[in-house]
């Protein structure tokens, strides 16, 4: 079971107390062990996509500055539709070979940094960045492989609605997102989401919303109703 919400409040340098997690959109809370992005930690998403942008949206709307490094194709318009504040976003499309320094510098100023490292990051670099993270109060969101990340997310399958055979337009996408990780996030969980929903945001969905019936990826035993972590996830999400 996920631990109850606040662990230890973090005193902020300006005085006062800052919450130990950065908020995420309500639809995504169930995927994360404390219902948000724990400050000082790494969250790894298997591949860059709308899920990464959705994870940043609520924190950005809440006033946090976000950095996006190494992802020149990040769709700012879609991110803004999900709730990201473009005014409080820094883009470093090409951090180059010095990307660890760039990310460390960004983490000095931004509370949330989305990074796609070029290739697999060497272990020393990862450890140093994690140490930098723990000293600060930011969250590093990695689009790609990050061994040892406490929380890992991936889009298992996805289907768009609204497009027919020569007519219509893309309206919404129903996606199955899986989460696992280490420690309190060790228990695997899955979640059906409208990503994006027709209004551009993120909403909870069910497997029955999936267009054209069940996708190919789900084993026969994993029928609707028996999905592993759904009860726990609803408890955390509420």
């Amino acid at each position: 079971m996920p631990r109850p919400y606040p662990a230890v409040p973090i005193p902020s340098p300006e005085g006062g107390v800052i919450p130990p997690v950065l908020p995420v959109l309500p639809g995504l809370r169930g995927l994360l062990p404390r219902g948000g992005l724990v400050r000082g930690s790494v969250v790894a998403v298997a591949e860059f996509g709308l899920l990464c942008l959705a994870l940043m949206a609520a924190a950005s709307a809440d006033g946090a500055w976000c950095g996006i490094a190494g992802i020149p194709e990040a769709g700012v318009l879609a991110a803004a539709g999900l709730g990201l504040d473009a005014e409080r976003t820094l883009l470093v499309p090409a951090p180059g070979p010095a990307w660890p320094q760039v990310v460390a510098s960004l983490l000095d100023g931004c509370e949330l940094v989305l990074l796609r490292p070029p290739g697999r990051a060497p272990v020393q670099v990862r450890q140093r960045l994690e140490a930098t993270l723990r000293r600060g109060r930011g969250v590093l969101l990695v689009a790609g492989d990050w061994p040892g990340a406490p929380v890992r997310l991936r889009v298992v399958t996805q289907r768009w609605t609204g497009l027919g055979d020569g007519h219509g337009r893309l309206r919404a996408s129903c996606a199955e997102v899986a989460a696992d990780g280490r420690g309190e996030a060790a228990m695997a969980r899955t979640c059906w989401l409208w990503l994006p929903a027709e209004d551009g945001g993120v909403a909870l969905a069910g497997p029955r919303d999936f267009p054209d019936g069940l996708p190919f990826g789900i084993p026969a035993g994993d029928q609707p109703g028996t999905l592993g972590a759904v009860p726990a996830l609803q408890a955390a999400g509420g």
Binding site: V76, E87, V92, C110, L170, G200
Partner: protein, 504 residues
């Protein structure tokens, strides 16, 4: 003319220092002309070191009375040579001319510039002896009058057509005839040609040089002492500016290394930076100047605390001179932040962004601005951090013809080449009347295995800027869904398929 002392009407000795490369900076490149202006200031400052009363004649040219300084420095030739050497030391080519009167001295400086380059490099100095000025002038072509008097161009052309090819020819014409034929301007030109009538110099002290510098002898190989010195320098700079009621828009940090290389970067200042903040920027600049480690691992220092030990040696042998130059000095009018509307980055964010800019360059850190436009890539304008935020295309227009619906999560910076084929394996074509040759069945993005198309919509035609042949383009847009659950924004342009964006 007596050999010693002054007589009434005798022009005084004038020395002119001319830097041809600063005279006509390329106006089309504002950066370059600003650089020329800065160089000009430094040249003037250098010349002022020899003689305080310097008149700036035009950009890159200054003049002063040579008599006193020449006596002090041991003769005109010696003084001119020293000035030429000092200005050349700034990296600017200088020509020095000495003659009776400003006009002759200007010509003398120009004369030394006009000689062939081999001779010029040997001797940038032309001294016309006091008795020789008339002869020197007489040999000059009349075209030199062109920019000296009103309508001089016409006058010079006219004189040339009349067969008066040199100033000597012109000077030989009686003054009375010149006045009756050529009027006031002609008379003035005639006086100039005779070596008379040069206006007296109007020296004014040039604006004080507000830059501050610190030399390190021996060169300082570690960053910390340089940063420490930078803080003191920044305080001096701020004091100097504040005493005159000024502030600067940007501050330029110039570090010269022992091997002669220079690192120069301009930092936004706006009168907001404290001395410690300036010192921080010097530190970032020195950091950024260090060669990047090849593997990105060994040279990386994660925390400022580890830094002192890390800066053991700069490969370049250390810093010899650190100079802070205020750029765009303006009157200090205080600072008023916008009441609403714009998000002003906080100190921490600005520091972080500028640190990255110090490493990767100004253009590397962007803030997106949402705007309008018909194509997906047009709708976001990335502006470098610190620049004015303005969308390329206004957001409040209707932009008919843009793709509606969900926005793509991936917008490829350059559209990716692709191939869309029908069931028979033929490339799907779009006719001028927007008719498809067949329904799309497969999408193969270059570099990836082909995908089966499970749903599609389009074509949505777009004919943009048809009035401008260079920018005009016709394209048909499609949305495609493929069997892996992804969706794509594909475009046909000039018969080629491109993928502009991805929805996932």
């Amino acid at each position: 003319m007596s050999a010693r002392g002054l007589t009434a009407g005798q022009p005084s000795r004038v020395m002119v220092v001319s830097c041809p490369e600063l005279r006509d900076p390329d106006q089309s490149a504002p950066d370059q002309s600003a650089e020329a202006a800065r160089q000009h200031e430094r040249v003037i400052a250098t010349v002022t070191g020899f003689c305080p009363d310097v008149e700036v004649v035009e950009p890159g040219v200054c003049a002063f009375g040579a008599r006193g300084p020449a006596r002090y420095h041991g003769g005109e030739q010696a003084l001119a040579a020293r000035i030429a050497a000092a200005v050349t030391g700034l990296g600017v080519q200088a020509r020095v001319g000495v003659a009776d009167g400003l006009f002759a001295a200007l010509l003398a400086a120009r004369d030394s510039a006009a000689r062939d380059s081999a001779a010029r490099d040997r001797d940038p100095v032309t001294v016309i002896p006091p008795a020789g000025t008339a002869r020197f002038l007489a040999a000059q072509p009349v075209s030199v009058l062109a920019d000296q008097v009103l309508a001089g161009q016409d006058l010079a052309a006219l004189l040339y057509r009349l067969g008066l090819r040199t100033l000597g020819d012109f000077a030989a014409v009686p003054a009375r005839d010149v006045a009756s034929r050529f009027g006031d301007a002609g008379e003035r030109a005639h006086r100039l040609a005779r070596g008379l009538g040069s206006r007296p110099l109007a020296p004014r002290p040039p604006p004080a040089d507000l830059s501050v510098a610190r030399e390190f002898d021996p060169p300082e190989p570690r960053a910390e002492p340089v940063v420490f010195a930078a803080k003191a320098l920044a305080e001096r700079l701020h004091d100097g500016l504040a005493a005159r009621g000024l502030t600067c828009v940007r501050v330029q940090v110039l570090a010269t290394w022992a091997d002669g290389r220079e690192s120069s970067r301009r930092w936004r200042h706006d009168g907001l930076l404290s001395a410690a903040a300036v010192a921080d920027r010097v530190r970032w600049q020195l950091d950024g100047w260090r060669p990047a480690p090849a593997d990105g691992v060994d040279g990386w220092r994660p925390a400022p605390a580890d830094r002192a030990a890390d800066h053991d040696q700069h490969a370049e042998g250390g810093v010899t001179v650190l100079r802070l130059v205020p750029d765009q000095v303006v009157r200090a009018t205080g600072q008023q932040l916008a009441l609403w509307g714009e998000t002003v980055p906080g100190d921490r964010v600005a520091r972080a962004a500028m640190r990255v800019q110090a490493m990767l360059g100004h253009e590397a850190v962007l803030r997106p601005v949402l705007g309008g436009g018909r194509n997906v890539p047009d709708q976001v304008t990335p502006t470098p951090f610190g620049d004015k935020r303005e969308p390329r295309l206004a957001a409040d227009r209707p932009w008919p013809g843009r793709v509606m619906g969900a926005a793509p999560g991936l917008v490829f910076p350059a559209a990716r080449e692709a191939e869309v084929t029908d069931g028979a394996g033929q490339v799907v074509r779009v006719s001028g009347r927007c008719e498809l040759s067949a329904a799309p069945a497969r999408l193969a993005v270059r570099g990836e295995p082909p995908r089966r198309v499970t749903g599609w919509a389009g074509p949505w035609p777009l004919h943009e800027r048809w009035w401008d042949p260079a920018a005009a383009r016709r394209r048909a847009r499609f949305q495609l869904v493929t069997d892996d659950g992804r969706a794509w924004l594909a475009v046909v342009q000039d018969g080629r398929w491109l993928v502009e964006a991805g929805y996932w």
